[in-house]
Symmetry: C2
């Protein structure tokens, strides 16, 4: 197990305590369980999964993990209380621990399901506590803190990008002598990721042979269809380093393409170039997305997904590059985003080009360097 | 793509319509998105991921998928409306489509987060619609329907078990000549799963070398630590067939064990045998779990997780085998569960023995056949 970067987590806990102070809250309760993941728990204390976390306005942190041995080895908190002490009952844990901290006004993560939140709010009310649960509250604040990356986070994402690049660079040789089953491509990526020191994959590898690349997120994610057969194949994967995941997609074009496929490839390349030109600190994600939507429309296409998204502990986090996110704030230095224009056709297949970009003064620095690959 | 089992999904949609009728509801809205997975959407219409689904009391089904091409190929519904038509806005989709169906009383899945549910309920109220969102409502009813498996579901789980068994059977030979990095074991499982026709894995493979097997769900899930080195190694994986996942764990004991490790292995074997003796239609999950807890306690141990759980489209679904689930219904024929007694120690490592069992008259039929493996 890695040693715990104590000061990193303490700093984040203090930043959250300042939010609580400003919001006149005594504590916040976050929940990261199988039903609802919340990577802000890992962000705040290093515990990777399956725990409740209470942070108080005076900066005390109480972790309530499912696996206490794991907590001892990974987490930075003032107190660890096994979740099983409360029979894994959210209300019981909240009641006992928040009362113990003498709270009168607390915020509960908005990720909790409606009936659970209602029960918890009522239960705390019966003890004289006011519980707040809202959009734009603590979860949004944490995503805001996570939006601009700290040096340690950029280092992790940079390393994830390097591993991703190394693997993408090996794909043409892997496929030079002919197509391979999708699962062989996925297994190659998995093995190389581990050999190169990744913590894991950011998400299930999506590998799509030409007859399956029509899907945005191909389903099943991997089959034994022949990746790299004539047509458009597409592989999308993330490399996780210290919790932080890259996100890159390679489209492989093999053999003679038809007119539609050529138009799709060209449009995606144009869209990518246009976006790259527009993305810089001060520019607005929605405006960049709108410009790309217009470019696609002028070529007779429509992209069925967002132009991109922030990456970090989550594969998808703010900022979102989507025309409909009108009022979101502008790009800032130290954000890290995945840019991924793509087009899909039921018959012709899919083209997606995706790289990770670090926002720097005046523009971007690529953390991954994929291209649309053509093989004969 | 596989052909669509039309009658299977239509039957399930009719069963849900009957629930709506009985509850005096006009429609139900289910949500399966990245933030909150709800496999009941796949259960009801075959669409595997990322969609809203409306079922009305007259049995009409409206699917609102993110990927419409995927929906065309996999889903059985009366109408498909792209989610992007509503700018991927849940409220806009619900407002438009539920108004179109002339609903006055609807139920919304309880999995929706609290603030989203509040907004949706208020929005529908402003249109004269009453929206219900509750524990023990439609999601619970669907889990109830999913608890006893239909023939097609048992066939899928049986096949998943066979593939799992085949792979487990090959592990001793793989490790006969010495330990391997955890990632090589995981890649072996992944490759064999694909070769044997699995749709995919049910969850991330958990492979733990002796120094990491103390964790219930080891983190990171795979590293390059040496699996099968002297001590207790543990691998937990699920094979997914047509959406249905097996769940089995093998503990590998290598070399001379110490007294604590021997006691742990023996206690887990005893617990497994006791549970197997008790589990039958009519028995109560909580009582079986309590008997095992008592056995462990009498040996000086405490199991930090449930004794088992139902499997199906989800890796964890009802029934839960946990002493604290006091009032849950008894075992019935055609349930399929994973039985998994386990013990963990920070120094000695972990022992878990997990197999899948089909409930049959008078007892169980194993769908997987792992054992605790000893290698010299």
């Amino acid at each position: 197990m890695s040693s715990k970067p104590e000061s990193l987590y303490r700093g984040r806990q203090r930043a959250l305590a300042a939010y609580l102070e400003a919001q006149q809250l005594d504590a916040v309760l976050l929940v990261d369980l199988e039903e609802v993941r919340n990577r802000s728990v890992r962000y705040l204390c290093g515990h990777p999964q399956d725990a409740l976390l209470i942070i108080t306005a005076v900066g005390r942190s109480i972790l309530i993990p499912w696996d206490t041995i794991l907590a001892e080895r990974t987490a930075v908190s003032d107190q660890v209380v096994p979740y099983t002490d409360f029979g894994r009952d959210l209300n019981a844990a909240a009641r006992t621990l928040l009362t113990g901290e003498k709270c009168t006004r607390v915020e509960v993560s908005e990720k909790i399901s409606y009936p659970r939140a209602v029960e918890l709010i009522n239960e705390l009310a019966s003890l004289g506590m006011e519980a707040v649960c809202r959009r734009g509250g603590v979860d949004a604040h944490l995503l805001e803190l996570r939006r601009r990356k700290e040096a340690a986070e950029i280092t992790a994402l940079r390393r994830a990008g390097e591993i991703s690049d190394a693997i993408c660079g090996e794909l043409p040789a892997l496929l030079a002598s002919g197509p391979l089953p999708e699962h062989e491509v996925a297994i190659f990526i998995e093995r190389r990721a581990r050999e190169l020191g990744a913590e894991g994959l950011g998400f299930q590898i999506l590998a799509a042979a030409p007859e399956r690349s029509f899907a945005i997120h191909t389903f099943p994610n991997i089959t034994s269809a022949l990746f790299g057969a004539p047509g458009l194949s597409l592989v999308d994967f993330g490399i996780r380093v210290k919790g932080y995941t890259s996100d890159a997609t390679v489209t492989l074009v093999r053999g003679r393409t038809d007119a539609l496929q050529e138009r799709m490839v060209r449009a995606v390349e144009e869209a990518y170039a246009l976006a790259l030109e527009l993305i810089r600190p001060g520019a607005y994600p929605a405006e960049v997305a709108r410009a790309v939507d217009e470019l696609f429309a002028s070529r007779g296409f429509r992209m069925p997904h967002s132009l991109g998204h922030g990456i970090g502990l989550d594969t998808h986090e703010p900022p979102l590059l989507r025309a409909s996110v009108g009022s979101s704030p502008c790009f800032e230095e130290d954000m890290v985003i995945a840019l991924e224009p793509g087009l899909y056709d039921s018959r012709a297949g899919g083209v997606r080009w995706e790289n990770d970009l670090l926002l720097i003064p005046g523009g971007t620095e690529p953390l991954t360097h994929t291209a649309i690959i053509r093989l004969d």
